[in-house]
Symmetry: C2
Subunit: 368 residues, 2 copies
C-alpha cells in the first residue's frame, strides 16, 4: 500500500534534499522534523551495496544538540546515564538519555568538540527542548542550540577507501566514534568514524548547510570507482546487527535495562543524573522484560508496519518491534521484547505478522 | 514530484489509521511522530466540502500532554505566556508556549478537565519532554503523560448538524473552545468545539484507542446525509483564515510578537513564567519583524515546499512561509514575515516562488 508523502514547509529539508531528489530518491520518512530518505527504488540492491561495497546516506535528520559554555560538561553529565569521565576532545561515546522515571528518551552519540563544547547526535525526539529546560531550570551557564551540522554517512566495507580518497590516509587510523574537524575543498566538515550500521564507515557532518549539494557530489564522485550507491539506513542490516532503533523499538515507557542498554547505565557514579534513583529501583526489582532476537518461521516476510504480539500458547509474552527477511541468513528475523519470566530455552513461541501464527524461536543479538 | 512515505514502526499510527486507509487516504505527513493524513486524492473537492458542507479529519497527531496532580495548575501557569486565571472546568484557551529566550516552541490549546488536571493539545514539538523536565526540576507534584486521547475533527458549516445528530442538541450551545466529557454508544469521548479551521466545528477526542475505527464509522454514517467528506486540515483554508501553523510558519527563533500572538503574552501577570524576562526585553526593543499576509501576482500557483524570500528591490525584507491559490478569492495568497522597518503602505514588494519574480502586496489577515 504505497502512499504519497506531503512535501511542505512544516517539515525541514535536509541540505542534501535537492541532491537526493536528483539522485532518484523514491521514498521518505520524517525524523526529527526533517525529511529523511528511506530508499532509492532498489532496497535489495541497496542492501547488497552496504554489505559488500559502499553506500551514501543522507542522515541530516540526525540533528545535533550543541551544549556550549562553562557548564557544558556538567549538563552533559547530568543528561546521560553513562559515565563520561576521561573523554578526550575528538572522542565520541554512545550515551542513553532517560527521563526522571528511568524511561529511555533518546540514545545519542555524545561528541566532545572542546572542553566546553559537546554535541549530542540525536535519535528522533526533541532533546533540544529537553536539554534547554534542564539547563535553564538548574541555572547552568550553557547555551543549548541546534547547530549548522548535517551528517552524510558513507557506510560499507569500501567506505574507508572512499573517505581516505577524499580526506587522506589519516582517516584509516581514526578510531570508532572518534572524529576530527576538517574541510574538503573549503567545505567545513566534522569527520567521524561512526554510522548506523555494523558494516563500518564514516559520517561527514557538513558545517555549512548551503554546501549540501557540493559535498554530496564530491562524495559520489570519489565513490564512483567503488560503485557507491545512494541509499538510506537499512532496516534489514540493523536487525541483523541488533542495533536499537529509538522510535521503532522503544518510544514511551521502555527503560534501558529492557532495551539491552544496561551496560551504559553507571549507577555507581558519584554524581547525580536524570533518572538515577528510578533506574536504581528498576535494577533492584529487575526489569520486567528484555530485548531479544527472534527467528520466525513460515514464508518470507516483507516487513511489518506495527508492533506484533509474541505468544506462548494463549498468553502474550512479548513483542516484535521490527521483522525482516535477512538475505544473508536466508531467514525471517526480528528484534523485540520478551517477558523476563520466560527462560532463554523456551520452546513454542509464536507470533502473528498478519497472516496467521508462525513459530518463533529466540536468537542472540547480533544475528550470526 | 510525488514521493512515497515509508510506513514503519518508527512512526506511530493513529487509532484512525485503518479507517482512513479503508476510506482512500492518498497522502500522509508526520506530525508529533504520528502518521497524519494530508489528502484523500481530491484536494479541491475536499476544500469545497470544508467551505460549504462538512469534512472529517484524522488529527490524532494533535497529541495531548496531560498535567495531573496538586501542582498541575501551577505548572500550566508557568509553561504559558498567557494568563489563565478564572478558567472553568470544561473550558479551553489558546496558550502560546515559549522557551527561555522568548521563542515560540508550540501553540497548544489548554483544556481544564478538573481543578487538578489539564491537557495541552499540542502542535508539532515534543512538549511532553519539555513539561516533564520543567516539572521535575522545579520539584512540582504533578504527573506529565501522553494520555489515551486522539482527536477526530468534524469541520465545516454542517459540522454542528452532524455532531448534534450524534450527541444531541446540547452541542449547539457549546461555546468555542469549551468541551464536555461524554460517550457515544459506549465509546468514551471528550467533545470540544474547536478545530484547525475557521469554518466551525468540533473535535472528538477518543479516549480509547482501540475504538478508532468504530468512532470513525459512526461519524461517517451520521455525516452521510450531509455529504461528509474524508479529508485533512487544509493549507488553503488556513492561509485564507490567517491561522498560524507552528512548524510551517515558525519553528526555531520566532517570538510570539513576530508571530502575531502578542495578544496572548501577558507580561503584566504577577507570576513568573518561562520566557517572561526575555519577552519583556523583546517587547521593549520592538520585534524585528511582523506576521503579514501577501497577495501574490502572476500565474496561479500550486503551493510551495520551502520558505521563499520577499524582496524590496535587491534587499530581502521578508519571508513567505506558505503560499496557495485561493479558490474563494481567486488570487494567490500567502502568509509570512516582513521586517518591521517596512511600512504597511509599502509598494514594490516581490517574491520568487521558483519561476521568477512576482509582485506581492500586503494584505490584512484573515483574508477577506
Amino acid at each position: 500500500m504505497p502512499f504519497e508523502i506531503a512535501i511542505g514547509c512544516n517539515v525541514r529539508k535536509s541540505p542534501y534534499f535537492d541532491a537526493t531528489v536528483a539522485d532518484g530518491v523514491q521514498s521518505f520518512s520524517v525524523y526529527n522534523h526533517v525529511y529523511a530518505p528511506s530508499h532509492f527504488g532498489d532496497p535489495a540492491g541497496e542492501y547488497q551495496a552496504l554489505m559488500t561495497g559502499v553506500v551514501l546516506w543522507d542522515v541530516a535528520c540526525e540533528r545535533q544538540v550543541q551544549l556550549a559554555g562553562p557548564d557544558a560538561e556538567r549538563l552533559a553529565r547530568y543528561l546521560t546515564t553513562r559515565a563520561i569521565d576521561g573523554m578526550a576532545v575528538g572522542q565520541g561515546k554512545y550515551v542513553p538519555l532517560c527521563d526522571y522515571q528511568g524511561n529511555l528518551i533518546n540514545d545519542p552519540v555524545l561528541q566532545k568538540l572542546a572542553e566546553d563544547r559537546f554535541w549530542l547526535s540525536i535519535a528522533d525526539s526533541d532533546i533540544l527542548l529537553w536539554a534547554q529546560a534542564i539547563a535553564a531550570e538548574r541555572g547552568l551557564d550553557v547555551q543549548v542550540i541546534d547547530p549548522d551540522a548535517s551528517p552524510l554517512a558513507v557506510q560499507g566495507p569500501r567506505a574507508e577507501d572512499v573517505v581516505a580518497g577524499l580526506f587522506g590516509d589519516w582517516v584509516r587510523k581514526l578510531k570508532y566514534f572518534w572524529f576530527r574537524e576538517t574541510e574538503l575543498d573549503g567545505i567545513p566538515v566534522l569527520l567521524a568514524r561512526s554510522g548506523w550500521s555494523k558494516q563500518g564507515g564514516f559520517e561527514l557532518y557538513l558545517r555549512d548547510a548551503r554546501r549540501g549539494s557540493d559535498l554530496y557530489r564530491r562524495v559520489k564522485e570519489a565513490g564512483a570507482p567503488y560503485g557507491i550507491v545512494a541509499s538510506a539506513p537499512s532496516d534489514v542490516e540493523r536487525v541483523e546487527s541488533g542495533l536499537l532503533s529509538y522510535g521503532a523499538d522503544a518510544r514511551y515507557g521502555v527503560n534501558p535495562f529492557e532495551a539491552g542498554l544496561g551496560a551504559f547505565v553507571n549507577l555507581d557514579r558519584p554524581d547525580e543524573f536524570v533518572g538515577k534513583a528510578a533506574l536504581r529501583r528498576i535494577q533492584e526489582n529487575g526489569a520486567r522484560r528484555r530485548r531479544v532476537g527472534f527467528v520466525i518461521g513460515g514464508e518470507r516476510i516483507g516487513g511489518i508496519t506495527a508492533w506484533q504480539d509474541v505468544f506462548l500458547g494463549p498468553e502474550v509474552v512479548g513483542t516484535v518491534t521490527e521483522a525482516v527477511y535477512s538475505p544473508r541468513l536466508m531467514k525471517n528475523i526480528a528484534v523485540g521484547m520478551l517477558s523476563s519470566a520466560i527462560p532463554d530455552d523456551v520452546e513454542g513461541l509464536e507470533t502473528n505478522l498478519g497472516d496467521g501464527r508462525r513459530p518463533a524461536r529466540l536468537a542472540a543479538l547480533p544475528f550470526r
